[in-house]
Amino acid sequence: MTQPHHFQEPHDNLPLTGRDEARSRSYTNHDKQASPVPVEQESAAAHEQAPVQPETVPVGEAALEISGLVKVFDDKVAVNGINLFVPRGSFFGLVGRNGAGKTTTLSMATGMLPPTEGTVRIAGVDVWSQPLDAKRKVGVLPDGVFLFDRLTGEQLITYAGRLHGLDEKTVASRTADLLRAMDLQDAAGRIVADYSAGMTKKVALAAAMIHAPSLLVLDEPFEAVDPVSASNIQDILKAFVARGGTVILSSHVMDLVQRLCDHVAIMNDGRLLAAGTTGEVRGGLSLEERFISLVGGRHEGGEGLSWLQSL
């Protein structure tokens, strides 16, 4: 039975060298520090002094394992020591405010951005020491990147398949399947530059799936996607998880994460505030309420805008 675990750690202790050894020796050594999901006081305001450093309990095999991950841009600390265990077969949601470090974390986890410190393993393969092996196992939908948009949708998916070294027949049949699954058959012959935002998301998702990865990392996959396509994509992802695949997605939409994901992690200011199964992290509240109580930053609605009223 998995339980959320949160243990205290001095702020300046990150990242720990030799941390890996500790982890591989035993995961259970965190148990004695285990506490319920952190209470509000520990969160937003208090974590300067007493950083909450929760992590999921490793049970079974890891689809993705992050330890001591740090990213410093010039003088800004974007990710401040993250440990995360994503069990194989889970549907994992990563939530946080804008600038919380979600995209930076996912970029480092997928081999797009070299971390300042820390290690990332995808299905046991170290992303930064054996990049090619790791990249065969993961499909990534980055947020806000350009695509080779002078290619048609069909060409783009084919291109992705060929970059992965798949043979011609496999690429052709999978491309046809993916186009059908994403409702892009009619647009297959049009260049991606002419696609709507939602279609672009879908074709990028298809390109991320063509090599049949065991782990899908999706940054904001439903942004700008219409409700029908979103439902279809959700079905595809659920089926993928049901067959043993793992999905990690980041999102701002709490209801969607609550409904879709069996595990969830809450990020703020480059750190994890809570992680675990969705039920445990929620602790009886809705995910949105839980998120806001942990992250803070809410103020009384409409306060000071008394002039904003229709007459």
């Binding site: 997928t110 081999g111 797009m112 951005l113 070299p114 990049p131 090619l132 092996d133 990249k135 065969r136 990534v140 980055p142 806000g144 990147v145 350009f146 695509l147 080779f148 948009d149 002078r150 290619l151 048609t152 069909e154 060409q155 084919t158 291109y159 992705a160 060929r162 970059l163 992965h164 070294g165 043979d167 011609e168 690429v171 186009l179 058959q185 647009a187 297959a188 012959g189 049009r190 260049i191 530059a193 002419d194 390109a207 991320a208």
Partner: protein
């Protein structure tokens, strides 16, 4: 409201200089250049002032050139002034009238506007001997400002609409490039031809003085010659032109403000049948083959790269034409270095721009289990497929035109070597430095701020020098051939060039592949940040 818009334009102009020493350098050099021109221009004006016919030609000619510049520039430079772009301001309750007036006044904020005003004012110096005409000049000045800016902005608005269609936008870019390339020979023709035209047909100047290009300057020009009828006709025409131009501008600006999103580039290009992989189906179904096919598509279809495909043959053809003229006169062409060394080197060095053009789309390569050597060889093949035939045919054309078939082997050897050297250097350099390029989907004319600063800029120039210096062995053989008149040297040199070229492309691809394996992620961060 107009004041707010003008202040916005001024603030934007000022902001361009903050923390940007290059903008200062640019404006100081621009200003010095313009001032130099202005002094010369004023001097000519004063010199001519005694001769009514000369003053007439000067006023109408100079005025027409200024107008023409204001009319043509917006065609070439898309969104030259986006500060008061209706697309950005449409969400605010601004009346078309106010926006129009704001754009009008805003047109004079900035170096081009100020220089134009100064040149226009300097034209009065030619009227020192005709005080009456100075009165005419005042009305001409006001009408000139209104008409020139109004027509210019009208053309901008209309071209904005043309540009919203990707195809016509590409067509306009290509045309503009061709015009630029042809400008040299055209100017050469103009300088000799125009003098003859001037002497033979003063009536052309006369006719121009009644067109919207210069009718306002026709007022003082006719007055200087004592032609009251001509002057009043010009005044009448100028008022009509100004009114019509202002009205047209207003109408189209209003139309654009109502339909801003309609011009956002939603014109679908043609669709191919499902299953038609185009070039991707013609290349081997391997990572290298796919990258080669995609590189060819980028070079041919992305306007940022495709201008090279237009420009390089255009250079060969232009210089072939010029050279044929020069050879007829019995002189030897001084263009060989440019055509045989510089042009092929640039064609190959296009490689170094490819990842920058990809921008963050390069992430697809980084995320795939792709070996550096596959990426490098794929891109190199793509560049070669497009550029090799162009360089070979261009060199053949040069030899054919000059008739110096004895030099063909060494010319061909040099050209091919420089193409290969360019690719070899580019295949390594793009993993080391980032060449600043406009992001995908923007105009190739958009100037890109250098993300790396001054020192990297110097380094980039240094690499180009190194690249050009690799031509020295070939040039030596060529020189020896010319000196000894023994074509054997040319043949030996050609073989040496081919060996060097093959060695440097192999070396460059290997070193580049090695560096790709180690640094592709950092390159991705760099090209993404440069956007």
């Amino acid at each position: 409201m107009v004041a707010v818009l003008v202040k916005l334009k001024w603030a934007y102009f000022k902001a361009g200089f903050r923390k940007n020493p290059w903008a200062w350098v640019g404006i100081i050099f621009g200003a010095l250049y313009a001032l130099g021109g202005l002094v010369g221009f004023s001097f000519v004006a004063v010199m001519l002032s005694g001769n009514p016919d000369a003053v007439f030609t000067f006023l109408v000619g100079a005025g027409a050139v200024i107008s023409l510049l204001w009319w043509v520039v917006p065609l070439v430079v898309s969104g030259a002034d986006a500060t008061l772009d209706p697309g950005r301001l449409v969400a605010y309750p601004i009346r078309t009238k106010d926006l129009q007036l704001g754009q009008f006044i805003g047109a004079f904020i900035g170096l081009p506007g100020i220089i134009t005003l100064l040149f226009m004012l300097a034209m009065v110096l030619s009227l020192l001997h005709a005080p009456l005409a100075i009165l005419g000049f005042l009305s001409a000045f006001v009408l000139a400002c209104v008409t020139t800016i109004a027509v210019s902005r009208f053309i901008t608005v209309v071209s904005l609409r043309l540009r919203s269609n990707r195809r016509s936008s590409q067509l306009m870019n290509t045309l503009a490039f061709l015009l630029l390339i042809a400008a040299g020979p055209l100017l050469g023709f103009a300088s000799t031809g125009l003098v003859a035209l001037w002497e033979r047909a003063p009536w052309i100047v006369d006719a121009v003085s009644f067109t919207p290009l210069a009718s306002f300057w026709g007022i003082p020009a006719h007055l200087v010659k004592g032609q009251w009828g001509g002057a009043s006709l010009c005044l009448m025409l100028s008022v009509i032109y100004a009114t019509v131009a202002w009205w047209l501008w207003h109408r189209h600006l209003a139309k654009t403000m109502r339909n801003v999103s309609a011009y956002a580039g939603n014109v679908a290009t043609k669709s191919v049948k499902t299953g038609d992989l185009g070039l991707l189906g013609k290349f081997p179904a391997t990572p290298r083959g796919a990258i080669a096919a995609r590189t060819v598509l980028t070079i041919l279809k992305d306007p940022r790269a495709s201008f090279m495909v237009v420009m390089i043959p255009a250079f060969y053809i232009t210089f072939a034409m010029m050279n044929s003229a020069i050879y007829v006169n019995g002189e030897s062409g001084g263009t060989n270095f440019f055509l045989v060394v510089f042009l092929p080197a640039m064609a190959g060095y296009l490689f170094a721009y490819l990842v920058s053009y990809d921008n963050s789309a390069f992430s697809m390569h980084v995320l795939a289990p792709l070996r550096g050597i596959d990426d490098r060889i794929g891109r190199a093949t793509g560049v070669l497929v497009v550029m090799f035939p162009i360089i070979v045919l261009g060199t053949l054309l040069m030899a054919f035109v000059s008739g110096e078939y004895a030099s063909l082997p060494i010319m061909m050897g040099l050209s091919v070597m420089m193409l290969l050297n360019g690719i070899g250097l580019g295949a390594y350099m793009d993993m080391v430095i980032t060449l600043p390029t406009p992001p995908p989907g923007t105009s190739p004319w958009k100037t890109q701020r250098n993300p790396d600063g001054f020192s990297k800029g110097i380094a980039r120039a240094g690499y180009m020098l190194v690249l050009l210096a690799t031509s020295i062995p070939g040039l030596v053989f060529w020189g020896v051939q010319e000196f000894t008149s023994n074509s054997l040297w040319g043949w030996v040199g050609a073989v040496a060039c081919l060996v060097i070229g093959c060695a440097s492309i192999m070396l460059g691809l290997r070193a580049g592949a090695h560096r790709y394996d180690a640094k592709a992620t950092e390159t991705l961060q760099r090209v993404t940040r440069a956007a």
